[in-house]
């Protein structure tokens, strides 16, 4: 009963919001928030249930199955949670935009379709929801209009369609082979198939998932899409939408295929999961280093999303309980802090009138302290500082890699962390630290409804970092349901036989030492606060707006690296697209619009037919 209700509330709410918007805008806003809140509450009530529901009014005679288990619940709660926060955030953010009904409708539709993909239990409805999600994402990426937004949208939709078509090929092949598309039946029947066939199916489906999750060779749509979408939607895109690829990989690799087949999928010494691990490693390093070259606040975060996806697949494709826990936990953590960071970037955009260029901002900590705290905590989580949630998931992933005797992958992961420190600090420094330009002297803090999501996500970052047992319990249950053995999860960490992690030690140490140092600091002579213009400049006056080092923040390094760090796949795909366009353009020229040439075509064709008949007597 409740699963269908969930879907009805989600989809119905989207449509109803559109129509309510025609009546009054505050009614629509309130209803959108209530809808998202209702979804959160309903999903929370579904915790712990394992239900599979078979509804017989399916499509083409196939049943429509809805199911929920721990894995689906985990993804569903992130979807509706971030959806609610995004709707609250966009109340004020997009207040003065145009086509607002369309915006709220599309956002709620995306939420609903994502929810649909995780709670459905057969592949045809999975494909249906997936397509709805793709199309509505395209609509919202190009919502702002203009050249760049449309280009970003087209790039996204073409790649997404290629992925979806590959998935369709896989689905049709599965149907003809096994005669059913229900996931639970498939899981049993596919155990007997040949390895080659399984590899074919996996490659077809993985294409779709790799494209959506933006791993390395197929990541090119992500930076443009994030940079051009509106900020509340960018946070949904980064936090939960790209992780649908991860959900798809879970569905295929673990739920349908299961551990036995995964462990058998080797060809020589190259295993299917090994290829994924290397894709993840290359993604981490490539994205971390490319992010250093960016000058747009949302592009840096977009490349960050690409990179963190590599961590998740490194953990998940390692097929051990600790790795699976690390990868899954990283999905949750990443979704929290990247949403937080996109909210912060959006707040800056909102107050400065759309400025995303990192080279022209500075010193905003003095005017927007809450936003700064949000950005700082987000960056700490991204780096994986101890006491934040990112640290626990990264610790699990590193431990898996080191103890699994893959030190080169661990090296790639560590290098990604240091790249993250650099671009994270660049993000914080260029926006919030440094000298405040004169034109931003009168900026105020963001309004209250925009502050709520930032504050909530900040608290979550620390909560899951200090008490990782809360999400780890859920993740352990997921691991058990997928066939792994259970981990020894405590409230403060994980105790495994090869070393424990006890965040209570770290937390207590930092707290006590911090308090002692703070008391010593207070005991010193009081230091009054001075203006930013009372600064060292070798005895000269401080020039306003110019005494700031932000442009090309890591210039010596970017100069060294940028010849080697071209996004060759982006250039490659753009070249293919341009060539196809030119080909089509020149093919179009046969339509001259001049009747004489059409007559000539007809005559030529008849002549060829006559020639063929005379020579070979075909007809």
């Amino acid at each position: 009963m409740t699963l269908e209700l969930l879907l009805i509330v989600a989809f119905g709410g989207a449509f109803l919001t559109y129509f309510l918007g025609k009546i009054s805008s505050s009614l629509r806003n309130g209803f959108a928030v209530l809808n998202a809140l209702a979804l959160v509450v309903m999903t929370a009530f579904l915790y712990g249930q394992t239900v599979e529901k078979n509804l017989h009014f399916g499509f083409l005679g196939m049943p429509f199955v809805l199911r929920i288990n721990m894995l689906s619940w985990f993804f569903a709660i992130t979807i509706v949670g971030i959806g609610l926060l995004s709707i609250i955030y966009s109340l004020k953010y997009i207040e003065n935009g145009k086509k607002l009904d369309f915006y709220y409708f599309t956002t709620l539709l995306i939420n609903a379709s994502m929810l649909g993909t995780v709670i459905c239990g057969d592949l045809i409805s999975f494909y249906m929801f997936w397509e709805i999600m793709s199309w509505s994402t395209y609509l919202l990426i190009s919502y702002k209009g203009g050249d760049k937004a449309l280009f970003a949208g087209i790039k996204y939709i073409i790649m997404s369609i290629i992925g979806s078509l590959a998935m369709l090929v896989g689905i049709i092949s599965l149907y003809t082979h096994f005669g059913t598309l229900e996931i639970s039946t498939l899981a049993i029947q596919i155990q007997g198939a040949s390895l080659n066939y399984i590899l074919f199916i996996l490659i077809m489906f993985s294409t779709a998932f790799i494209i959506i999750n933006a791993f390395w060779p197929l990541h090119i749509w992500l930076p443009d899409a994030h940079a051009e979408a509106v900020s509340p939607f960018s946070s949904i895109l980064s936090a939960v939408l790209v992780r649908k690829g991860m959900y798809g990989l879970y569905l295929f690799m673990y739920v349908i295929l299961g551990l036995n087949i995964l462990n058998r999928l080797k060809f020589g010494f190259i295993s299917f999961t090994g290829v994924f691990c290397w894709i993840g490693a290359i993604t981490i390093v490539f994205a971390a280093l490319t992010a250093l070259l960016q000058n747009d606040s949302k592009r840096i975060l977009a490349w960050s999303t690409v990179g963190q996806g590599g961590y998740m697949i490194l953990g998940v494709a390692f097929v051990t309980p600790l790795g699976m826990a690390g990868g899954t936990f990283h999905i949750l953590n990443h979704c929290i802090y990247i949403a937080l960071l996109f909210f912060v970037a959006g707040a800056i955009e909102y107050r400065t009138g759309g400025i995303r260029d990192l080279n022209s901002l500075g010193g905003l900590i003095k005017k927007m302290p809450v936003t700064f705290i949000g950005g700082l905590v987000g960056i700490f989580g991204l780096i994986g500082l101890p006491l934040t949630n990112g640290f626990v998931s990264k610790w699990l992933i590193y431990k898996t890699l080191i103890l699994g005797n893959r030190p080169f992958l661990a090296f790639a992961a560590f290098l990604g962390t240091w790249g993250t420190v650099l671009y994270g600090y660049k993000f914080i420094h260029n926006i919030f630290l440094g000298q405040l330009p004169e034109k931003y002297k009168n900026i105020k803090e963001v309004p209250f409804t925009m502050r709520i999501p930032i504050i909530i996500l900040t608290i979550l970052v620390f909560l899951f970092g200090i008490l990782p047992g809360i999400p780890l319990k859920v993740i352990n249950a997921i691991g058990i349901s997928l066939g792994f053995e259970s981990l020894d999860v405590t409230l403060w960490g994980i105790a495994s036989e090869t070393g424990t992690l006890n965040t209570i030690n770290i937390f207590a140490a930092i707290l006590i030492v911090g308090i002692i140092i703070w008391l010593i600091f207070k005991a010193g002579r009081k230091a009054p606060k001075v203006d930013q213009y009372d600064n060292y400049a070798a005895g000269s006056a401080i020039p306003k707006n110019k005494y700031n080092y932000t442009v090309d923040y890591y210039y010596p390094f970017t100069k060294m690296i940028s010849p080697y760090l071209k996004d060759i796949f982006d250039l490659f795909y753009t070249k293919i697209a341009n060539t196809v366009q030119k080909l089509c353009n020149s093919t179009r020229k046969i339509y001259t619009g001049y009747v004489g040439s059409y007559v000539m075509y007809i005559v030529l064709f008849l002549a060829i037919l006559i020639l063929v008949q005379l020579k070979w007597g075909v007809f």
């Binding site: 009372d534 060292y536 070798a538 005895g539 000269s540 006056a541």
Partner: protein, 185 residues
């Protein structure tokens, strides 16, 4: 030099620390800076007394005005002096800061530095040799012992007059007054 007398350290560590850890602002204000590199390098090693130059005034506590002070440099000197943290000491080298020295009748230099920033002591000479600078430092130690090296306190108490002198020389100053309360009353 009473650096090794532990009882004095225990009685007044702040004062003893100030005596034996002079960090000099590395700002060459005039011709006398030529005598400073010999003092801090191997031949007349100033570091054995704890004297070392530092990069910025925020980290320093001794300001050496080495020679004549032109009006252009005086602005930088005043800004640098105000950026130093309390307690701080100023020592002027040469005869130009005392009474104008060789440039007493120049349109471009000032004749009495003490009108603009407080000076704790002068070292006579044109330029004083490193040995003279060291003897001057020992005199500064004695002044600190007797609590007479209170230039920074005088600057705070008489800021109105110092500011008035500065404004008389320069006209409108670009930097706001350092101690607002004193100006307001």
């Amino acid at each position: 030099m009473d650096r090794n007398k532990i009882s004095k350290w225990l009685k007044n560590p702040g004062k003893m620390a100030h005596k034996y850890s002079f960090h000099v602002v590395y700002f060459c204000t005039g011709c006398g800076i030529i005598e400073i590199p010999p003092s801090i390098t191997a031949r007349w090693d100033a570091e054995r007394f704890g004297i070392i130059p530092v990069a910025t005034p925020r980290q320093a506590n001794l300001f050496l005005i080495t020679g004549y002070v032109s009006t252009k440099t005086l602005k930088a000197i005043i800004r640098t002096y105000e950026q130093m943290p309390d307690p701080k000491y100023t020592v002027a080298l040469g005869s130009c800061p005392i009474n104008g020295g060789m440039y007493y009748d120049s349109y471009n230099t000032i004749t009495s530095l003490d009108k603009y920033i407080p000076v704790d002591g002068y070292i006579a000479g044109c330029m004083p040799r490193p040995e003279a600078i060291f003897i001057g430092v020992t005199h500064l130690w004695k002044l600190i012992d007797m609590d007479k090296a209170d230039g920074y306190k005088r600057y705070r108490e008489d800021y109105v007059h110092y500011r008035a002198n500065q404004e008389q020389l320069f006209g409108e100053l670009e930097w706001p007054p350092l101690f607002i309360k004193e100006i307001v009353k």
